[in-house]
Each structure stands twice: as C-alpha cells, then as structure tokens.
C-alpha cells in the first residue's frame, strides 16, 4: 500500500512548513488526487489517519479533491469517450493527459501563536 508512503510525504511537508512558521498545530490539509495518479483517495485517507498520530497534524482532517482523467488530442483538442481506444476520435491524433495525474498538496491550515 504505497498510500502510506504518500501520507508520510504529506505529513513531512506539512510539519516542515508548520515548524518554519512557528505553528503549534496543523488544522487541515487539502490535496488534489488525479484518477490516474495511482493513488486511491479512500486508501490515502485511511493511511493518513494512521500516519498522523503523534505528529503536528494529529487531529487535522485531510480534504481530498478527486480529479477525473481528461484525455485530449494534442493536435485538434478532441476528446475520446471514457474507456475508448486512446486515439482522437476526430482526427486520429495522439492524446495527452490534460488532467487526472496530479498528486498535489494544495494548502494547509495551521494554528499559530
């Protein structure tokens, strides 16, 4: 379950930022997870709940925004129907992923003072 490693990377980054700003506690983390990122939001939530114990994020909820996969033709901008062969239905061109592979830490909220 690589989601545990992803959760640990999140916690490491959030705690570093919190310490840098003299925060006593992280209250919330917001992430964006693409459908084709290879990370499952439900598993990440479970892993995060385990991994946050004993850290500055120990009671911080993890807010996950899921991003659907969006394929787009590099030539004409056309898009295939989901599950179809990955070729542009309009011009036969090559498709690129315009969204859905992100693994982003968007923002954190922390308590200072």
């Amino acid at each position: 379950m690589h989601e545990y490693g992803v959760a640990r990377a999140l916690l490491e980054r959030a705690q570093m930022e919190a310490r840098r700003r003299g925060a006593t506690r992280v209250c919330r983390l917001s992430v964006r997870i693409g459908e084709l990122s290879g990370v499952l939001p439900e598993l990440l939530a479970t892993a995060f709940a385990l991994a946050r114990e004993g850290t500055l994020c120990h009671d911080a909820p993890l807010e996950v925004e899921s991003v659907p996969a969006r394929w787009q033709c590099r030539a004409c901008g056309g898009a295939p129907t989901p599950g179809a062969v990955l070729r542009c239905p309009a011009c036969g061109g090559e498709l690129g992923l315009a969204g859905g592979d992100e693994l982003l830490l968007e923002r954190i909220e922390m308590e200072v003072g």
Partner: protein, 262 residues
C-alpha cells in the same frame, strides 16, 4: 484568519502550497536520470506483476546478447535476493534491493543501490521493480524508459484494471508466448485492444523468455532507445513478434521453438 469553517479564529493561518506531494522522490529521480544520461546508460524501469517473467526476461536478454550487450540490474523484492542470485548466475552484474515493507522501489533506494554496482560501464541498467501492478507506477526512479511485462496467462483485462501502470509504459512485453498454444481462449487481439485503451502511445512486443523467441526485436527496441531515436507510436514493420499488426480476433499459431518461428 480561518476561512474554512468560518469560525473567524485569528490564529488559524491558511498556507497555499500547490506542491507535488512526491516532490522529494521526483528530485532524487531527476538526479538519477541525469547521472544515467551522462554515463550513456539506458535505465529501464521494468515493472509487472509477480511471476510475469521479469527476471526470466533479463536472463533471456543475457543469453541473447551473448556478451554483446552490457546489461546490469538492480532487483527489488520485499524479501529475499533470489532474483539477484539468478541474474548473477546468468552473468548479469546485479545489486539486490530488499524493500522490506515497501511495495515498490523509489528513487532513493535506487541511488543507494548504485553505490553497490559497477554501473558506469553498462549500456543498459534494468531497475527490476517489485512484482506489483499498482504501486511501482507511482514512483519515478529516474529511468529513461518504462517497460511492463505482462504474461499471456494473466488475462487481457489487466491493463484495464491497472490503467496507471500501462498509461506510463513506453513498451509492454507480452511474455510467455510459448504458452499460447495451451490457452485456447486467449487472443492477442484482446490484449492489443485493452492496451490501446490504456496506452496513449501503444507499443507492444510478444516474446518467450524460455525459447528466446521474440527477444531480438526487444533488443532492437532497446538499442534504438539507447541511440536516442524517437520511436513514439511505432509499429515495427515486419517484426514477427510485434503485436502491432494483429488486427483480428485470430493470432499466429503459438511459437514452439526458435527455429520454427524464424
């Protein structure tokens, strides 16, 4: 001020980061990639399920190359160094990576293992990942190319079930071609179809590590990649092992021996 729950708590500070979560791994991967490129070594992230034939493929490559190809490997396994022992016996310089709890290699594991291998003189360095169709796809190791081994016994639905791994593959090797004759329900067209739904740049080769049938087109693929050729979306013309030309539900009779197929 808190702007998420509206409590107005002046001590809650929002910080916008918009950073890649695996940035640390990605920085290390970029350093690895730079080192490989400078040394002229083609690093191949070799992925696939347990038992898909990754190690057998490297053994076949060592035989096929017959000392001509300078191939080395880092082998990742949660426990044991069995793969490394096999490869060493096949004459492949290798450093094992025991990943313990981790279900995949990461860029730092690769960096540490490089210190245990004379890799600078190699042409091809295979990063044989942990047998797993999910987790290895998430971590960049600094490879130049990603190759996925998928055996004909695993089922043509696997690319659709594990789309992230196949999306990132530059090449899929359909392994264990010698078993096709025992699998009446299996068609190459079904594999080809599911790969075309998951790989934006479809490229696949059929081979058998046991008979070495189809290994030489893979060697050619590697050589072309190392030569820096851009072969995006290529369907090799006339390559007997290529899946590119299989358009119908039928497939050529299963390869039974090297001689017969050539």
């Amino acid at each position: 001020m808190c702007d998420s729950c509206g409590c107005g708590d002046p001590h809650v500070v929002p910080v916008r980061l918009q950073e890649r979560i695996l940035a640390r791994n990605e920085s290390q991967a970029a350093r690895n990639r730079e080192r490989f490129a400078r040394a002229g070594v083609l690093a191949v992230n070799l992925m696939g399920g347990p038992g898909s034939g990754k190690t057998a493929l490297l053994e076949a490559l060592a035989r096929e190359g017959d000392g001509r190809l300078r191939v080395g490997a880092l082998t990742g396994d949660p426990a044991t160094d069995y793969d490394a022992v096999r490869l060493r016996a096949a004459g492949v310089p290798v450093a094992p990576i025991t990943t313990g709890q981790a279900c995949h290699l990461d860029a730092e594991m690769v960096e540490r293992a490089l210190a245990r291998l004379e890799w600078h003189e190699l042409e091809y360095l295979f990063l044989e990942n942990v047998g797993n169709l999910v987790c290895p796809a998430v971590y960049d190791l600094g490879q130049a190319v990603s190759v996925v081994a998928l055996s004909v016994t695993e089922g043509a639905d696997k690319p659709l079930k594990y789309p992230t791994m196949f999306r990132k593959a530059d090449l899929v090797l359909l392994t264990k071609a010698d078993l096709l004759q025992h699998l009446p329900g299996v068609t190459l067209a079904a594999y080809q179809d599911s790969l075309r739904r998951t790989m934006p740049r479809y490229d696949a080769l059929l081979l058998s590590a046991v008979t070495s049938w189809g290994v030489s087109p893979f060697v050619e693929w590697l050589e072309a990649r190392r030569a820096g050729l851009v072969l995006a979306g290529r369907v090799p013309a006339g390559a007997s092992a290529s899946l590119g030309g299989v358009g119908s539900g039928s497939y050529t009779p299963a390869p039974t021996g090297e001689e017969e197929m050539r």
